[in-house]
Symmetry: C2
Subunit: 266 residues, 2 copies
């Protein structure tokens, strides 16, 4: 009852339901994505004849999905810029992320949060309650400090040293009494930045620990973050270590909905 039983994801070219021409055309598109290509390169890369490739490419050019520059090759066209931009307007993080959050919550049994950066605070956009009987005192729409929450720290993973200092000091002014000193905090943040995740070790709320990771868009910019939070009794160091992969994995899956591809290099 599955569609196309032999769905072994070989290498891009999976067998699909009746739209060969469309699929091939779009494959041309993605083949060109990695840099301008000439017709023979394309036809070889896709395993198509020159005729077919040419017809496809010509149509894509006429519809402005590709540019053609004689003696240079085909490159991505304006229509993709246009659609890409419109796509980013249509996406919205909470809607796209929600299902992933639910799934992560079920896998871990813990409460999962989604947040974005709102000026100099972390703004909580979604919360999926875990199965354990622990209440976490966060609410959707609430703004929390960046420096002491998992969500917040994950949002800072691309910030410069200077920017981090700035934030730490601003928040110290606004909320005194944070128990991690500046040097120590910066040290930890550097570690998190290298590793691609962040912890909250009962810093923001007593007895609550979190594992968090950033969500990125097509430009690799951090557009949000997720965290798994639990009572310290369930969150010993060993378990937090285990959660890292799951949290990064889920964040990565959401990121790829926003066009992020781990192999995007300038």
């Amino acid at each position: 009852m599955e569609n196309a039983g032999e769905g072994s994801a070989e290498e891009g070219t999976v067998r699909m339901a009746g739209a060969q021409t469309l699929v091939r055309g779009l494959e041309v598109l993605t083949a060109v994505a990695h840099g301008p290509r000439k017709l023979p390169d394309l036809s070889e890369a896709l395993g198509l004849t020159r005729s077919t490739t040419h017809r496809l490419a010509t149509n894509l050019v006429e519809l402005r999905f590709l540019n053609f520059t004689p003696r240079v090759g085909y490159s991505l066209g304006p229509k993709l810029l246009e659609l890409g931009h419109l796509a980013s307007r249509q996406m919205n993080l909470p809607r796209v992320a929600h299902d992933y959050l639910v799934q992560l919550s079920q896998q871990t049994g813990d409460t999962v949060h989604l947040g974005i950066r709102d000026a100099d605070r972390a703004l909580y956009l979604d919360k999926v309650q875990g199965s354990r009987r622990i209440e976490i005192s966060s609410r959707i729409g609430e703004r929390q400090p960046l420096r002491s929450t998992g969500i917040g720290k994950a949002l800072l993973l691309d910030d410069s040293e200077q920017s981090l200092r700035q934030i730490y000091e601003d928040e110290t002014r606004a909320f005194p009494g944070y128990r991690v000193g500046e040097a120590e905090w910066l040290e930890r943040m550097h570690q998190y930045q290298k590793s691609g995740y962040a912890f909250d070790l009962e810093e923001n709320e007593d007895r609550i620990r979190c594992v968090a990771a950033p969500i990125r868009d097509a430009g690799a910019n951090i557009i949000g973050s997720i965290s798994v939070s639990g009572a310290a009794q369930y969150m010993d160091d060993a378990r937090m270590k285990l959660l890292i992969d799951q949290v990064i994995g889920t964040a990565g899956a959401i990121s790829s909905e926003f066009g992020w591809a781990s192999n995007t290099r300038p």
Copy 2:
């Protein structure tokens, strides 16, 4: 020598060389661009049967060019974000614009410039000499003031009142002796902002007048500008008025290479 003689751009569905399925699929894509659509809407809008539309859409979803949300409809997918982003990396203004500049220069007989904003100055990236025997003392790579050049003013057409004042005052400090007063200048800029073009009335260089217009990207941001410059003797008010449409037209054509679509509304 033209491509496709009968190119009356009726309404999306133009007849083209052998790739119906591809074209239809891409039409589905652009139909979804204007907001999430349900299957029946799509099939009616494109004049296709439900079956066909569904097959196309399904394939687009599998390739991540579309998202499907039950009970909501189809929306643009992550792959478009990804390709849009890559496309913007492949584009570069001078290369894309050059041919348009040459064409505009030939049409008008005047010298045409291309510039971008570089911090608080206008940076000249390209210059196409006109047919008249007039030397204009600009050079590619040169940085000029924003407030007194056509190129510069066109770059400011989206700036706020506050930002304009700031720039005027900064440049007054750097280059005293500009003959247009602040109030007058702001007044003119407001007029230009409303109209979508800008003049340089011998402000930057004696006896030289320009007509300029901005180039926009998919997000409607101003990414550069072009200007037609000529000796004042050839550039009376009447001729400048006539040039406006040509300059705006050329700027618009370049803009559309960058995914700008005049009908892009939030």
